[in-house]
Amino acid sequence: MDAVTPYDLRPWIGVYGSHIKAELPKPPQASVAAMAHAAATRFASHTAFTTVMPNGMYGSLSYRQVDEHSDHFARYLRKVLGLAAGDRVAIQMPNCLSYPVVLLGVLKAGCVAVNTNPMYTASEMAHQFKDSGAKVVVVVDMFADKLEEALPHTDVEHVVITQVPEFFPPVVGGIVHAVMKYWNQQIPRHGVAATMLREALAQGAAAGGDARAWWGELDHESLALLQYTGGTTGVAKGAMLTHGNLLWNLSQMRAMCASHIEDGKEVVLTALPLYHIFAFTVNFLCMFGAGARNILVPSPRPIQNLQRAIENYRITWLTGVNTLYNALLCEEWFTAFPPKHIKAAGGGGAAMHHAVVERFEHVTGAPLVEGYGLTESSPVVCFQPLNGQRQKDTIGIPVPMTEVRLVNDIGEPVALGQPGELIVRGPQVMRGYWQRPEATAEVIKDGWLYTGDVAVMDEQGTFKIVDRKKDLILVSGFNVYPNEIEDALTRHDGVLEAAVIGVPDDKTGEGVRAYVVRRDETLTAEALMAHCRKLLTGYKIPARIEFRDELPKTAVGKILRRALRTEVLATTNPNKG
């Protein structure tokens, strides 16, 4: 046996001090549904969610209403549609009041939720629905036309349509809907045979039955979520997150922030999309459990959309990515009147810029702590502590009950201060990838999740990411996988071969850059961009396309992305601040 490694000593426990509990009890509730029901019972009359439109119009749901509506949706799924436990239901909508109702309804029905990015193209949707075997899709009306294109390639049997102002007061909801439809023309015509969410809830209410019977059968091992994430192979895979994974991560996050979260008192601004695992676990689950009020913003772009939400509510918590904080700090309405009641802010997804953190803390007087996680770990692995010895420009320390090691290429722990691949073991680590045992075996070995990120640890147990082993590109917190982009590029007849890498970008953290060898010399970058737009979501489209005569390759002909990256870094001397 090896000697005790620096990681086994868990030096970060020293940083926990008296603020963070090192040992956490097993989450008392058997499922997320049970947790939500308990919170809804305890905080029944509190406002749970408020959706705020850019002009300040809003709609709210109390904890009791969320509980009731989600019960009705669970009954609709089980009694009206006849779904069975474990059936997959895809949810595709921006932040709105329907999201928590539908998500909790799915979990209460004992079904599995498939979070889907509403900005996906039809082919991306088709892949995700087909792969997950989703039988039901709950989609926002804004994207129903793309769903119509995708449907024939999936096993979806029922479609439920909702709208952004769902559950708004009638007049206000009517105005918001009319403005979206007629003025902004954001709601396309479509021919999807669907049930409106309102109707589905009414049918569920009429169907009767006790949802408790369904979620009563769930335990920590039950599958709750298929959270899709791209892969180095270019195909999006569903990370299987169980009720236990999510409940543990919720309680780990809660422990990290114990000093700054008071039950029933917090107001959290959710500008990041709930279909993304970070906002899902931290903003939704963790804050719902704490009886907080969630202020949902359907779209944080333009950033001005957040103005009324920040002005009109006593925001105490804020989460975001570097891009979002950077944008906020460029707004006079934010810097002149920063939220007065803010206690703390959390950042993640991609490395936070030092200057952004400094400026945010100067403007608001509240700490902006950075964390680290990945879809496969529900997501939080590390976070900077809110009290005690916090070190900026790091990803902080592992959350309680989480083991982290840095290892070399053959899986042996590296010495203190040496860079190594970060691996994680803990109750938040996924069960594996949905129906992809080989892919699972590649990342989970002996219960350790191999993140592909290279980090270093200091004596106190604080980690810092130095590089990424995988070539994945992080654009504003979204994973972009070069293979997928290369695949899209090479589908163009004029393209011989392509290589895609991430290059440092001041705004988005990283930007997608493509190197293309043309087959047809008349092909222009514009034409290729237009081709990409048909196949890929906005953030995946290369910010720049460069034509080359050849691409660097290994002896066996594998394109060397790393060589291109080195070349870019050498010439641009990116400023990593």
Binding site: V52, M57, P169, V172, I175, N312, A336, F337, E526
Partner: protein, 301 residues
């Protein structure tokens, strides 16, 4: 001439419009604007510097008789019209600036309108003068719903936003109402009206656009803000002028003074629409070329 009921109806509608305008802003918006007051200063300068002077010069140059001259000068002294916000929205202008300018010119109207009106109407015969009291009274009555609107917005964002919308729609409806109720009954008058009156009614708005744009460019505003200020300057609160005339004059005198404010209101909708289409094209083209420049810069980098 408008009937008693119509006058009252107009008064009520004006209150709702002002309520809606108040509901479109928060105190914080003002506080932020005051941090960089140049925008506000330009707004006030255009509204109470350029426009009244322009009206006076037009009246003089076209040698308008006193009834028309007072109508035109009154029109020039009015604060910004709420419809400018709608046109700004459609022309892809800076909406927040437009709202702010309309609102600030309305709030200071109670002091500025009587002042400028008295100054520029000095040379006009007594019977055509508009008593200061009338102006202040109307403006004060309208200030109340404006402030009430701001308070409503603060109290409940939903109520505020709905009222803002109703006020905006009503702004357009009132002008239509004026046209529909006034034009048919004064058909003969319109036919008999000579070129100078039309030139004044149309020219005030058009020259306002040009001068507002010029001044803001002179004060180093970017072209998009300058286009917003141009629309804001040219578009005056027509219904407000009509209301003041209705409360001041009666009979044929009222009818004559009313001519220019009504014609102005009619033509400003038409000219603003045309300008909006034009501005929208320019803004779109600028946006596209900015994007293209970015891509070009990237390709060269």
């Amino acid at each position: 001439m408008l009937s008693e009921t119509e006058t009252k109806l107009l008064g009520v509608m004006m209150m709702v419009i002002m309520l809606g305008m108040g509901a479109s802003l928060t105190f914080k918006d003002f506080a932020i604007a005051l941090r960089k007051p140049l925008g506000l200063v330009i707004g006030i300068l255009c509204q109470y510097g350029i426009m009244p002077l322009l009206a006076y010069l037009l009246a003089t140059a076209l040698a308008l008789p006193p009834a028309y001259a007072i109508g035109l000068i009154l029109m020039g002294c009015m604060p910004g019209g709420t419809t400018s916000n709608i046109f700004t929205y459609f022309s892809k202008g800076t909406l927040s600036l437009s709202i702010l300018m309309t609102m600030s010119s309305t709030l200071v109207a109670i002091a500025m309108v009587p002042l400028t009106l008295a100054f520029y109407s000095q040379g006009i015969e007594g019977q055509w003068q508009i008593p200061r009291g009338n102006v202040i009274q109307v403006l004060f009555v309208l200030l109340v719903p404006t402030v009430f609107g701001i308070a409503l917005r603060k109290w409940n964002a939903n109520v505020g936003a709905v009222i803002e919308l109703i006020g905006g729609l009503l702004g357009v409806l009132v002008i239509l109402f004026l046209i529909v109720s006034w034009v048919p009954r004064n058909w003969a008058l319109l036919l008999a009206t000579g070129f100078p009156v039309y030139a004044a009614s149309i020219g005030l708005g058009l020259a306002g656009f040009v001068l507002g744009y010029g001044l803001s460019r002179l004060l180093k505003q970017d072209s998009r803000r300058a286009r917003t200020i141009a629309l804001e300057t040219g578009i005056q609160n027509g219904p407000l002028a009509v209301l003041i005339v209705l409360l001041t004059f009666t009979g044929t005198q009222q009818q004559e003074v009313l001519l220019i404010p009504v014609l102005y209101s009619l033509f400003i909708v038409l000219s603003s629409s045309a300008v909006t289409v034009w501005f929208r094209r320019i803004t779109t083209r600028e946006e596209l070329s900015r994007d293209a420049a970015k891509i070009g810069a990237l390709a060269r980098a």
